[in-house]
Amino acid sequence: MNAKKHFQDNITFLFLFILAVLYLTPIFIVLMNSFKGRFFISDAPFALPNVETFVGIKNYFSGIAKTGFIQAFGYSLFITVFSVAAIVLFTSMTAWCITRVKSKVSSLLYYLLVFSMIVPFQMVMFTMSKMANIMRLDNPVGIIVIYLGFGAGLSVFIFSGFVKSIPREIEEAATIDGCNPIQTFFLIILPILKPIIITVAILNTMWIWNDYLLPYLVIGSNYKTIPIAVQYLQGGYGSRDMGAMMAMLVLAIVPIVIFYLTCQKYIIKGVVAGAVKG
């Protein structure tokens, strides 16, 4: 029995190992091609660079210059960090308030927010981008408001589920001690919310960092985030610089991989918690 289990485990390990190598292959192919000359990529993407095709990091220079990648990285970082911060702060406040204060306004708000989760983006993209334009939200600061509005549904939903599990006695004790609701929330509730804040922050970071269509429609003509910069390289027919493209794909993946490897534990936990609640 033991020998059989041992054998099965080895087969499973071998199978998973081959699968893992296959899983990583696409990324290695892109990395490898990013060091080849632009005309040697499309024809033979699986060939290793050789003396003739190797160009060092030339593609990276041309890609960065063509797309304004440094700026794009800055915009992506700015928009993601501040949108996620705004979403976490404001939706946790809202979720706590509407969960605790039972009123018609609270339940209307809750149902509207939950409803917004099933509405596909295409339903509102045209009118929303016009609204953003009219209200002067079509810049990297204004788009934070848009992200707060779109992220509110899922985030309030997840926070509300968690708030229900916090005993009311804690808040009542705080009120008796003379805390007003603002003090109660920031001094008592917010620290308790910490694990779920990480979940909400991670889910929203993954969404906003990779989001293409929303920023493209709202700010895309003046400010390029990373996905917009990559798509921009596509250019007109036939004129695509494959070398620059490969280099930009690598540069777009690197920050994500670093983020993933440093906070892997929280990301996987957050995704599971978010999925189970959502």
């Binding site: 899983y23 509102v124 609204m131 509005g149 509110a152």
Partner: protein, 281 residues
């Protein structure tokens, strides 16, 4: 805290409400209204009744094709992604060495954005297809299976971690009892593991269905609908209708409303049917 003075209630809810009204609620209501009008800007619109809805299907076959393509894509990808994810999860809960590294690797593609994923796979598919003298835009079938492979690469790891959590949540006593009763591993899988992870199946089907229906970035980057919009899914077709040609904004908005109703219906039906398969606790 059953009651809260209004000024505090406003303090807690207004920032979210304002952002929500500006970016979602008004655009949503305005979108429904505009789908019954002909317009080029939001402020200049003329009521045309349901003609946009009719034109969505009659002006060309794009919307109908996109609907069929999307439904087929959703069906195939939901089944494949969940079967693979569940299989991976079973293999990764056998307590073999390297489990954590495998999990890390399988989950990683999920964090890469759709546009970047699309171009990574475009390179690979075209690199293979060039040997046959064609590329991914040669036929809608290539685009279809290309998207299926891409989405599996992206989503299987995500669903896998949800299934792993589900499998690990099964009480050990159940497994032991079954083993003592002499159940083989197939019987355990069929009578214990699968019924016990039904809640995870609900979640994963829900996520894969909604993701498949709303797919846009990957579709845009991989084929952009080529050849001749035959591989365009619903979201991309709506985008093309809005921004591809002048004078079709109303039709685009009507398509968007149909798309919304369609997604809402699918979500409701799916949640109802899989909830009924879960075990009552």
């Amino acid at each position: 805290m059953q009651k809260m003075p209004n000024k505090y209630y406003a303090f807690f809810t207004l920032p979210t409400i304002i952002a929500f009204v500006i970016s979602f609620l008004i655009p949503f209501l305005l979108g429904i209204y505009l789908s019954f009008t002909e317009f080029t800007t939001v402020t200049n619109s003329q009521w045309v009744g349901v003609s946009n809805y009719i034109r969505a299907f009659t002006d060309d076959k794009n919307f109908l094709n996109a609907t069929i393509f999307t439904v087929k894509f959703a069906l195939v990808s939901v089944v494949l992604i969940n079967v693979f994810a569940f299989t991976f999860a079973l293999l990764l809960t056998r307590k073999i060495k390297g489990t954590n590294i495998f999990r890390t690797v399988f989950f990683m593609p999920n964090l890469i954005g759709g546009i970047v994923l699309g171009y990574i796979w475009q390179l690979i598919f075209n690199g293979i297809l060039i040997n046959f003298g064609v590329d991914i835009t040669y036929s809608a079938n290539y685009g279809f299976w290309g998207l299926i492979i891409l989405m599996n690469w992206q989503m299987v790891g995500y669903m896998m971690v949800i299934y792993i959590a589900g499998i690990q949540g099964i009480p050990a006593e159940l497994m032991e009892a079954a083993e003592i009763d002499g159940a083989n591993s197939w019987q355990i899988l069929k009578s214990i593991t699968i019924p016990m992870v039904m809640p995870a199946v609900t979640i994963c089907t829900f996520l894969t269905v909604t993701n498949s229906f709303k797919l846009f970035d990957q579709n845009l980057a991989l084929t952009a609908g080529a050849p001749a919009r035959a591989s365009a899914m619903l979201a991309l077709d709506i985008f093309n209708t809005f921004y591809g040609r002048m004078g079709y904004e109303g039709v685009g908005q009507a398509k968007a409303v149909i798309f919304f109703l369609f997604v809402a219906l699918v979500v409701l039906l799916q949640l109802r049917s899989s909830r009924s398969m879960e075990i009552e606790n």
